[in-house]
Every structure is written in C-alpha cells, then in structure tokens.
C-alpha cells in the first residue's frame, strides 16, 4: 500500500476513534482506549512520514477521493514538505497521547475531551495532506472547531468562556483570510486544485495581496503580533496535553499553511516580501517573550513563549524569502533549514514544557507561580525533564534550541550578498532583535524554573506535592532525550530537511552526516562550524574530571547547615524572591515603554502598623490600540442594528424587496 493511502487510513481510523469515544463515553476504560488508539495511530503515521522523508521524498504521491467538490473530488498529496510536517505533528501527537494515558485519569469531564481529541489530530493531519483549497479549508476549519471544543472543555472556569469566545472569533477571521487568499489564487476560472495554482503565475499585485492574506490567515493561527491576542487566553485554558498540542503542534500547521502558500503556490517571491515577514517576525519574537516575562501563570508564560518562537521561525522564513527572491538558493536553503529545524525543536520542547506544567497542575492544583516552589525535591523526575526543556528553549548549547538559533544567525551573516540596501541593513538589525529575544527567553525560563521548581515551597500544596504517574514522566523523558539528541547530532536533522528545501527553494544544505567528527558546516569550515557532540563530550568530561580530581585529592566532606544569607535568620519562605519581584528589573528596563508599567507604593503614615502596598499596573498596548476600538465599533454597530429587530413585517418585506432589486440592478450594470 502506498504511504499516502496508509496515512489516510490512519486519519480515518482517528475519526473512527472519535466516534467510538462518543459511543463508549460512559465506560470506565474509555480514556485508556482513546489515548491508546491515538498513540498507536499517530506513532504509525509518524513512522510512515519519517520513512517517506528519509526515503524517496522527492517524488510526490497523490490520491483522489470522491468527496468534497463534485467536479474536483478530494485531492491529497504527500511531498517532502508535507512529509516533514506530518512527522512533526504526529510525533507531538503521539507524545501527547502517551501523556494523556496518565493525565487523562485526572480529568473530571472526560466526555468533553475524549471525542474531540482524535478529531483534532485527524483535522491537523488532513490539513497537511490536502491538495486542493476546498479540502484544505474544510480540514482547517475542522481543526479549529475541534480545538475550540477542547478549549471549552472546562467552560465553567470564568476565563475559559472568554478565551473560547475570543478564539472562535479569531479563528473565523483567519479562515476567512485564507479563503480570500485561495479565492485570489484560484483566479476567475475557479480551479481550486493546488496543482493548477502552482502552474498559474499571478500578477505581482495579486501575489502581494495573497501574501498579506496568508500572513493574516496563517499568522492569526500561529500567533503573530498583533494577531496573537487569543493565543495566551486559549492555549492555557485547554487540558495540558491539549495545550501542548495547540502550542507545540497546531501552530506548526499554521506555519505549514504559510509555507505552502508563499513558497509553493505563489511562485517567485519579490524581495520586499522578505522585509515584511522579517519585521513582523522580529517584533513578534521580542514582544512575545516580553509578555511572557510579565506573567505569573505557568501555562500562560509558555503560551507567550510560543509567540516568541513563532516570531523566530518567521524570521527564518523571511530570510528564506529574501534570499530566494534574489536567486541565492544556497542561502535560502540555509535559512529555510533553520526555520524548519526550529519548527521541529519547538514542537519538542514546548510540548515537554506543557507536559511539565500539566504535571505541576496535577500535583499541586496550582498554575500560579507565586504559590509554588521547591518542586525539585518533591517531583525530581519532572523537575529534571523540565530543566532540560528550559535549557533547550533558552537556545543554550548543547541542546537543540541552540542549533536552530545558530543556523539562523549564520543565515543572517549571509545578508551581505543581498543587492537591496533596505534588506542589507534590516537583516542585521533583525539579528539583534533575535539575540535580544533569545536572552530574554533565557531570563524568562530562569524565572519560571527558579520560582516554580527551586527555592522553598510557598504554599502547603507545593510542600506536599508528589511526582506524577509513569505515563506522564515517560512522555516527558522521551522528549527531553530527543532535545538532547537533536542538539548533539543536528547533522541528521539537517539531512532530513534536505529534500524539503530542495523542493521549496531548489537547493539544499551540504550533506552533514558525512562531515568528519559529525560537525555541522553550513557553508565552509573556515567560515563557521559547530559540533554539538564534541561540545557535549568536552563539558561532561571536564566536569567529571574536576569532580574526580577534587574529590580524590582535596575534600569530599559535606555538612548540611541552615542557609547563610549574609547572616540573616530567614525563617519564612515568604521572604524569598517572588515571580513579580524577579521580573522587576526587566520590567523597569523594557516594560515602562512597551507596557506602560507603573509601580505605585502606598506607605502607611508613621505609627500606623498596616502593611505597605506595592501595586504594579501593566497595560497591553496592542489590546488597547487595536482590539478595544474594534470591539467598541462592533458594539456600536450592533447597538444601532439592534433596531432592525423591532420592525413591522411590512418593513421586513420591504428590506428583502429592496435588496433583491438592488442586486438585480448590479447584475444589469455588470459589464
């Protein structure tokens, strides 16, 4: 059976699982059955996609099913790009299913989660496999609705209803933008097959319009600033393994959509497309991580950090567009490889971190960092895996996040060859923004880990936490190990991406697996190279050497004593640094301008024993400037249109009549 048929079979089986889950919802074993089935199916799909990617990825497979548009059918296609994204998505989905096997047992409303979970996975797979606009949009909407249902699973919690409301509006907006984009691509003849769109070369202004619409549509799903507002509300609201899927996997579907439209369907890019994507990406990266630094809710921090990483990926894509527009295929391949490598990495560590947040939630019932602390003693395994995730997402060697950052910086250093002055000057500046975002991300994750996992417990629930079940730990362990492996053996990932970049920009990076010592060498060794495995071995070896020498020759005695703290007898854990306190210096440096951060200290008068109060106020500038006026406009219009509900029947008939007549007039005047 060809791979694509097997993959479609997996999707069908996922849909069937969803039906079965509905039927068996009252049965006790439904949770295990559903997650077991999705684990099996997505793991199979991931293996199939990996086989395709590392096997014969160059020749696309197609299949047509008699569904969808009657004259077109439902077209499906498996090429290198979709194989890569299927691998990423099903890998994330398999880990989420594994995690769900344990985490799902604590779910108090399984009937609100189980039926939608496999449907959500099926929707994402179908988007990637679709080869015509109708099929693509249908699956896209299916995916959105399934994830919306999952966000609303705990709808009785106050904020979740609002999150779901904002999410469904933004999702509809995104789908509409994509619908218009495909409408423009299909042209007046209305051929919705991707193959036909690839053949047609749209006029430059049309192509630019499609690019903007694709940025709006895919960008709103991925969380590009300023379309990100729904993401930090919706992603944390869902159950944690679904949050992992939404942040780690669904955003990648959006990126797939953007790549498919701009690199594949739209033909040759113009150079200024790159500038737009670069600037939006750079701003998104910095703003996302700054938002994350101001939050105290574990899952919300992770959601904002997703925005940062999406910005990072879009910078890579913008670079690739800029290079591709100037026929610098090799550089474009490097930039695209960096972006896709980060897609893979982000799926790994963001899923891992959301699993960790879910584990903390299970163990303590708390998401607020100010009530956590000291979990490294109570949940040692989870703490270790989350630490790996934090180091990896902070782009530090020898883990995987560093490799994609390094590749992006190498691509940025090739910008000298670009002929346009605007690009030449913009690209290094964007590189500075990326470096800023990366260090702020490190600050953000020092804060997250230091407050939640280190120190002393700040509440009774944190003091009495116990580590989570084996399934959850296993899924975290697998992804933590993958983070390390992808970081020390990046050459294999890069080689796996070669067919994708070959297909998208017509070139690929030099084969890395054959480089001596397993280094990665993007262009030439005299120019730049990095060897994750050697760095890892050196660090481990020197650390062990230091331990061995010191323990053998000097001293190995340890005495436990109360903390020193400059001689301050520090009894209460409340005297530790808090999450807001930790963020204060950065809030003062960056927040005053961007968030209008204000601190007000209320001191009691002398002699009064009431406590002093420090109040911090932050304003979301983008919400105030963009969303609030829009919402007010809608309210205003709705208030005025409300009158239409109270007309007589004669007037209603009159309205219908006049609209009919005006439509006929338009038809009569149409050339």
């Amino acid at each position: 059976m060809p791979t694509i048929n097997a993959l479609l079979f997996c999707v069908a089986a996922l849909l069937a699982t969803s039906m079965i889950a509905v039927a068996l919802i009252r049965w006790k074993g439904a949770t295990q059955l559903t997650y077991g089935a999705t684990l099996l199916l997505t793991a199979t799909a991931a293996a199939l996609a990996a086989g395709r990617l590392f096997g014969d990825a160059a020749t696309p497979l197609t299949v047509t099913l008699p569904l969808g548009l009657p004259w077109l059918g439902a077209l499906f296609r498996l090429d290198a790009l979709s194989a890569f994204f299927l691998l990423v998505i099903n890998l994330g989905a398999a880990a989420a299913s594994l995690y769900g096997l344990g985490y799902g047992r604590h779910e108090h409303a399984p009937h609100r989660v189980l039926p939608f979970f496999p449907a959500f996975l099926a929707g994402m797979n179908l988007v990637i496999l679709a080869d015509d606009a109708f099929c693509f949009l249908l699956s896209w909407e299916f995916m959105s609705l399934a994830s919306w249902a999952l966000v609303m699973a705990h709808h009785r919690i106050d904020d979740n209803a609002r999150a779901g409301y904002v999410y469904i509006i933004m999702a509809s907006f995104g789908t509409m933008a994509l619908l218009l984009a495909f409408g423009l691509l299909a042209g007046p003849d209305g051929d919705y097959a991707f193959a036909a769109m690839r053949e047609a070369a749209p006029a430059p202004w049309l192509a630019a319009l499609v690019l903007i619409l694709a940025l709006l549509g895919a960008g709103s799903k991925a969380g590009l600033v300023p379309l990100h507002a729904w993401l930090p509300l919706a992603h944390p609201a869902a159950p944690s393994h679904v949050s992992a899927l939404m942040s780690g996997v669904m955003t990648k579907v959006a990126i797939y959509g953007f790549i498919r439209i701009t690199f594949d369907l739209l033909g040759t890019p113009a150079w200024w497309w790159g500038v737009i994507v670069l600037i939006i990406g750079g701003v998104t990266a910095v703003l996302g991580v700054l938002y994350a630094l101001m939050q105290n809710d574990l899952k919300r921090i992770l959601a904002y950090s997703t925005i940062e990483n999406i910005g990072f990926i879009f910078v890579g894509l913008g670079l690739a567009l800029a290079f591709a527009a100037n026929n610098m295929a090799g550089a474009a391949a490097l930039a695209l490889t960096a972006a896709l490598f980060h897609v893979f990495n982000h799926t790994l560590f963001k899923s891992l971190l959301f699993f960790g947040a879910g584990a903390v939630l299970t163990a303590t019932g708390e998401r607020d960092m100010e009530k956590l602390g000291g979990l490294i003693h109570r949940m040692p395994m989870t703490a270790l895996f989350v630490l790996v995730g934090c180091v990896a997402i902070s782009a530090l060697p020898p883990f995987n996040g560093f490799v994609s950052e390094w590749l992006t910086l190498q691509a940025i250093l090739l910008s000298l060859g670009l002929p346009q002055w605007g690009l030449k000057i913009a690209v290094p500046a964007i590189g500075g923004l990326l470096a800023l975002a990366a260090t702020l991300a490190a600050a953000c994750f020092v804060r997250l880990y230091g407050i939640a996992f280190l120190g002393r417990p700040r509440s009774a629930v944190a003091a009495n936490a116990t580590d989570v079940d084996l399934w959850s730990r296993a899924s975290m362990g697998v992804f933590a190990a993958l983070c390390l492996v992808a970081g020390i053996l990046p050459g294999f990932v890069i080689d796996g991406l070669a067919p994708v970049t070959q297909y998208m920009v017509g070139a690929h990076m030099p084969a890395q697996a054959s480089v001596p010592w397993l280094s990665i060498v993007p262009i030439a060794e005299s120019r730049s190279s990095y060897n994750g495995i050697l760095v890892f071995i050196f660090i481990t070896f020197s650390a062990l050497l230091a331990v061995a020498v010191i323990h053998r020759l000097a001293s190995r005695a340890v005495r436990r004593a109360p903390a020193w703290d400059c001689g301050f007898p520090d009894a209460s854990p409340a005297l530790q640094y808090t999450a807001s306190g930790f963020g204060q210096p950065l809030r003062r440096v960056f927040g005053a301008m961007i968030f209008h951060a204000r601190e007000e200290v209320e001191m009691p008068p002398p002699g009064d024993t009431s406590p002093a109060r420090l109040q911090v106020s932050l304003r979301d500038v983008i919400w105030d400037a963009l969303y609030a006026p829009l919402a007010n406009l809608v309210l205003f219009l709705a208030g005025h249109l409300n009158r239409l509900q109270f007309l007589t029947i004669r007037r209603y008939l009159g309205l219908v009549f006049f609209s009919l007549v005006s439509l006929l007039v338009v038809l009569a005047l149409w050339p």
């Binding site: 630490l387 250093l413 500075g432 230091g450 400059c566 306190g581 210096p585």
Partner: protein, 320 residues
C-alpha cells in the same frame, strides 16, 4: 593520521593547561595593581592560588534545602567556561578543536554557565540569591545582544565566525582602519566589564552591598564549590582578555604548523598582552565609581547601540 593530528592536539592540550594555570595569576595581578594604585601593599601575586587551594581543602557547607542542582552547578559552570576558554586562540591559532565551536557557540557556552549560575542563586530560596539572579538576567539581557552585534561586525568583515580565521584575517592589510572595528572594540570592552562583574557594573571585592550581583548569587557557596566558581570567574576574565587580544591585537599569534620558536614567542606575546590588559582594567576600575543598578541598562544599552551602529556603518566602508 595520528601524527598529523599530534601537533594540533599538543597545542590544544597546552592551551587548556595554560588558561587554567594562568587565570588565577591574572586575577591576583589585577588585585595587586589595584591595591598599589590605592597606595596599599596588596596581597602577594600568588595569593589567589593559595586561596583556591585552601578553599578546596575545606569541607563544603551546603544549605539544608539545597537540591542536587546547587551542588552540580559549580562543576557545570567550570566545565562550560573552561571549554569556552580553551577554544579562544591565545598563543597559537592551530587548535585541534577550534572548529567544534565558533564565536557564537563560545558566547552561548558562557550563556549556559550564566543560566545555571542564576538558577543556583535561586535554589536555596534566600532573598539575596534572588536579587543576584534577577539582576544578572537583566544585565545579560542587554550584554548578550551587544555581544552578538559585535560578532556580526567581526563576521561581516572577516567573512567568518571562526575565531582562528578572524584572527588570521586581522593580521592581513585587508582589514584597514575601520570605524566599525573601533566601535566593536569599545562595545566589547563594555560587555567584558559587565560580564565579568567589574566596576562600574558590579563590584567583585564586596560582599555587603545591596548592589552586588555576582557575589549575591554565590553567597551560599563554600569550600570546594566556591573554589571552583572562583576559578571559573577567573577563567572568564582571562577568556575575555584573550578574545580581545586575539581579535584586536593578533600580532604574535603562532599560525598553524609553525615551529617551536614561534610558539614560544607567541606565548610570550600572549602573556604580555594579558598583563597589559589586566593593568588597564585595574587602572580603569580605580578611576571610576560604581554606578547605580538602574544606570547599568543605559551603559549596556550604549554598548548595544555601538554594536548596531558599527554594523550599519560597515555598509559604507571600503570593501563591503
């Protein structure tokens, strides 16, 4: 095969030993010069070695609720800093493993060390540790982008992020006089001062100030853990001086495949550069006052701007 690799391996091993053995001397030298400038006698040059050995032999007092991370961190920091310092060309460019990490990776290795140090500051759960960590990440959030901009300048000029290639390029006449390089040098000096917790950003000699950053993070450490951390700090100072020397004054660096005499000459030149740098650092530190913590962002912001401006001005220079 082996005989071809042998010289590189020897140089690599020699460099690892040299940086390890020389770094406490450099720290001791800076302290001595500072003391002499203040008309004090100052500790003997070798005092820092004695301090380290004494600390190594003492038992380590660990806070009651410290986790495994607290005890593992000093070794991780030391290892990362040592590996980074071993990859910066000091007296010769022909390091066997110089290609395993370029300049960006070396900076990121130091970033890893800082990440763990900031975590260790928060592990015991005291208020001082938290202060140190939170200020450290604030300083790093500006120093590291500035460093990346400096890397951009160097890499765009030399066409490489590999330090040995950059050093070799800097010796050729193709470099010329460039205003961008001057800006890169100034920015690098600012970053080096901030990263090594020197005056005016931080004070390495104090323990009892509310403005301390680095010392606040290592406050809970004692015995061998403290010794290893102090050694790592000395290594980091040596690393930054070597970096400045190898990029901006590369003369005397023995090229790959040179004879013994050249290497010995390179070693002498390196020691000379190192002590000149240490002397200048001591003079600078005694002539300036420590600044308030919230002036530091302005200081480092200026470093970042210098880096950015240097990158921009590259585009109007001769050969680019």
């Amino acid at each position: 095969m082996i005989s071809a690799l042998l010289p590189g391996l020897l140089i690599q091993g020699a460099q690892m030993l040299v940086v390890l053995l020389l770094s406490p001397l450099l720290t001791g030298f800076v302290r001595k010069v500072k003391a002499r400038l203040l008309r004090r006698q100052g500790p003997p040059l070798l005092q820092h070695y004695r301090d380290l050995l004494r600390l190594l032999r003492k038992e380590a007092v660990v806070a009651e609720n410290a986790s495994w991370l607290f005890r593992a961190t000093p070794y991780m920091i030391f290892a990362a800093t040592w590996v980074a310092a071993a990859l910066v060309p000091t007296f010769a460019t022909g390091l066997l493993f110089s290609w395993s990490a370029d300049l960006i990776a070396i900076i990121a290795l130091l970033g890893s060390a800082r990440f763990f140090l900031a975590l260790a500051g928060m592990d015991v759960g005291t208020s001082f540790g938290g202060i140190g960590s939170s200020r450290e990440v604030m300083i790093a959030s500006l120093a590291e982008p500035a460093m990346i901009m400096i890397v951009f300048i160097l890499a765009l000029i030399a066409g490489s992020t590999q330090l040995s290639t950059v050093a070799a390029f800097m010796q050729t006449p193709a470099v010329g006089l460039r205003v961008s390089l001057g800006m890169a040098l100034f920015a690098l000096l600012m970053v080096a001062i901030a990263e090594n917790a020197r005056i005016p950003v931080d004070n390495p000699a104090t323990h009892l100030e509310l403005t301390m950053v680095h010392e606040a993070m290592v406050l809970e450490y004692s015995g061998r853990h403290l010794a290893v951390l102090e050694l790592a700090a000395s290594l980091k100072l040596l690393l930054y001086l070597s970096l400045i020397a190898c990029v901006f004054v590369p003369w005397g660096l023995a090229p790959a495949g040179a004879g013994w005499a050249t290497h010995i000459l390179g070693g002498a030149a390196y020691v000379g550069k190192l002590f000149f740098g240490g002397f200048m650092l001591a003079v600078f530190e005694t002539s300036i006052a420590k600044m308030r913590v919230f002036r530091v962002p302005d200081f480092l912001g200026a470093g970042l701007m210098l880096g950015l401006l240097g990158t921009l001005l590259l585009f109007v220079s001769r050969s680019l």
